[in-house]
């Protein structure tokens, strides 16, 4: 009797541990193995456009993370009631709701950031990472899993944006977070223009692929 009880508790606990591990995995996969920018090559349009300074990149990443988590929760909640034929419009409406929240909040509390991100905040509605996670993950998984998936993908996107914009801001403007790094350094204007974004993203994707391959090859 006692032994049965102990066994139940043990199994319960291991199941719980297993569950937590799974959630953690859903979170961490977004950061490296399935990083939306570097591995899935999703959401490149906002990445190219707003990664001119670290502040912009971080702001955009945070906004997208909020929308991701919110839309993932709602989509996951209603996944059983949405007819599959009209699921995409439904997802878009849900996403647009959260984007509107972000947009209005940003306008009210971070007017400068909102001004410099411009059209790209409302354009999160059509960001393929958000729609992609709703379609590929949240519409098939439980709410808890979807939350962690959204958090992980958002963190991965933010990380990618911060890395790219740090490189571009340092080389193209000679600054980090607006502070001059090195006096006498002549910044290469190209890096804060569009070709610089394409170059930096291309080289970073190449580097990530190289190291991933090396890891799996060994």
């Amino acid at each position: 009797m006692l032994r049965d009880y102990a066994r139940t508790i043990f199994f319960e606990r291991s199941r719980e541990e297993h569950y937590m591990k799974k959630l953690l995995r859903e979170f961490s996969k977004g950061i490296f193995i399935e990083n939306p920018t570097f591995r899935l090559a999703l959401g490149l349009c906002p990445t190219l456009a707003v990664s001119t300074s670290v502040v912009n990149g971080f702001g955009m990443g945070m906004a997208a993370t909020f929308v991701l988590v919110g839309s993932n929760i709602i989509v996951s909640c209603v996944r059983k009631f949405i007819p599959s034929k009209i699921r995409i419009p439904c997802f878009i409406v849900i996403i647009a709701t959260f984007v509107t929240i972000v947009e209005l909040t940003m306008k009210a509390y971070f007017p400068l950031l909102s001004k410099s991100l411009g059209i790209f905040v409302p354009l999160i509605v059509v960001n393929c990472i958000v729609l992609g996670r709703a379609e590929a993950f949240a519409s098939k998984h439980s709410v808890a899993n979807s939350v962690f998936d959204g958090l992980g993908m958002g963190a991965g996107f933010t990380l990618a944006l911060v890395v790219i914009s740090a490189i571009r801001e340092a080389l193209g403007n000679g600054t980090f977070l607006g502070l001059t790094i090195l006096k006498g350094f002549d910044p290469a204007l190209l890096f804060i223009l569009a070709p610089g974004a394409l170059l930096v993203i291309g080289i970073l994707i190449g580097a990530v692929n190289y190291f991933t391959e090396k890891q799996h090859g060994a």
């Binding site: 002549d186 290469a188 204007l189 190209l190 890096f191 070709p195 170059l199 190449g206």
Partner: protein, 313 residues
């Protein structure tokens, strides 16, 4: 590739004795008069730019070949030297020493080695380096130097950048008596090199003549205040048109393979150059035009694919 009767086409092939190395060094030889002219016109600062650019290109090539586990000696095959020389010819004669170094790194690493080295690059490496510098440091790249004969020469910009009617006579433009890049100013020296390449059959007439012809025709039609009144001689003699048409658009790696393709390529380069010169925000468009057409080369090659030997339609 030598000989009038041969075109690059599907098999069977006939071997010629001319190696890549020989072609590269012949092109460098053909470019020498223009370099000498540039040094003579602008003084020794241009020699400094040329040397730094060539040395850094070879060093970066060797270093990156080593990184890719290839024999670093390949760097001496002349292609890196040629890239460095062409890059320097596209730079103003006086600039900070690190500018040609950065240009060489971009040319060799970003435009050439990352794509897989000689023969695999999509874009002309020297032009990529030049455009990178042009966009990144526009101030250094448009600081021109007076030519040695300058008594009353205009020191601000290349003739192309000037508003209104040009103050230059054609003789000055032909000999290089004006501000400009090291290798593009002396049309006489470039013409000597171009004739040498044409006689040696290193390049064919298709790209340079259609390129220059298109530019002259279009600037004649649209370049003036009214139709058919443009100063086409001025557009031929100023800027990097001659250098670009004979020495850079004809780069073996980044041009189309067939005769028909080359003609399309040349005309396309000409149209893009004129559009940028007359309507764009930059005064000069040759380098952008060639890079743009480089990107289209795979399409041109597919469109002008030759019939396989012995194959009936």
């Amino acid at each position: 590739m030598s000989g009038n009767n041969f075109t690059v086409s599907p098999a069977p092939h006939i071997r010629s004795g001319l190696s890549t190395r020989a072609i590269m060094y012949l092109v460098i030889l053909a470019l020498l008069p223009s370099g000498v002219a540039g040094i003579y016109i602008y003084g020794f600062s241009s020699l400094r730019v040329i040397l730094i650019s060539m040395i850094s290109c070879v060093v970066f090539e060797a270093a990156f070949l080593k990184l890719r586990n290839r024999d670093p000696k390949i760097a001496l095959d002349g292609s890196a030297l040629l890239t460095g020389l062409l890059l320097a010819y596209n730079l103003p004669p006086e600039m900070p020493f690190w500018l040609p170094v950065v240009g060489g790194a971009v040319s060799i690493i970003l435009a050439k080695q990352i794509f897989g080295g000689l023969g695999h690059n999509i874009f002309n490496p020297a032009l990529v380096g030049r455009v990178f510098l042009q966009i990144s440091w526009p101030v250094y790249m448009t600081t021109w130097k007076n030519p040695r004969w300058a008594v009353d020469a205009v020191s601000t910009a290349t003739p192309l950048a000037k508003e209104g009617a040009p103050l230059f006579n054609y003789m000055d433009l032909f000999l290089g008596n004006h501000g400009g890049c090291i290798g593009e100013v002396c049309i006489l020296a470039l013409a000597v090199g171009a004739v040498f390449l044409l006689v040696m059959k290193i390049i064919s007439w298709h790209i340079p003549f259609t390129f220059i012809g298109t530019v002259m025709l279009l600037t004649w039609i649209f370049g003036g205040d009214s139709m058919f009144s443009g100063d086409f001689t001025f557009h031929l003699l100023s800027g990097g048109l001659v250098l670009g048409a004979f020495f850079m658009a004809t780069d073996y790696v980044t041009r189309p393979l067939t005769k028909k393709g080359k003609i399309i390529f040349g005309i396309g380069c000409g149209i893009m150059t004129v559009v940028i010169r007359l309507r764009g925000s930059y005064p000069e468009g040759v380098s952008y035009a060639i890079l743009f057409m480089n990107a289209v080369v795979p399409l041109i090659d597919r469109y002008t694919k030759t019939r396989k030997y012995g194959l009936q339609k």
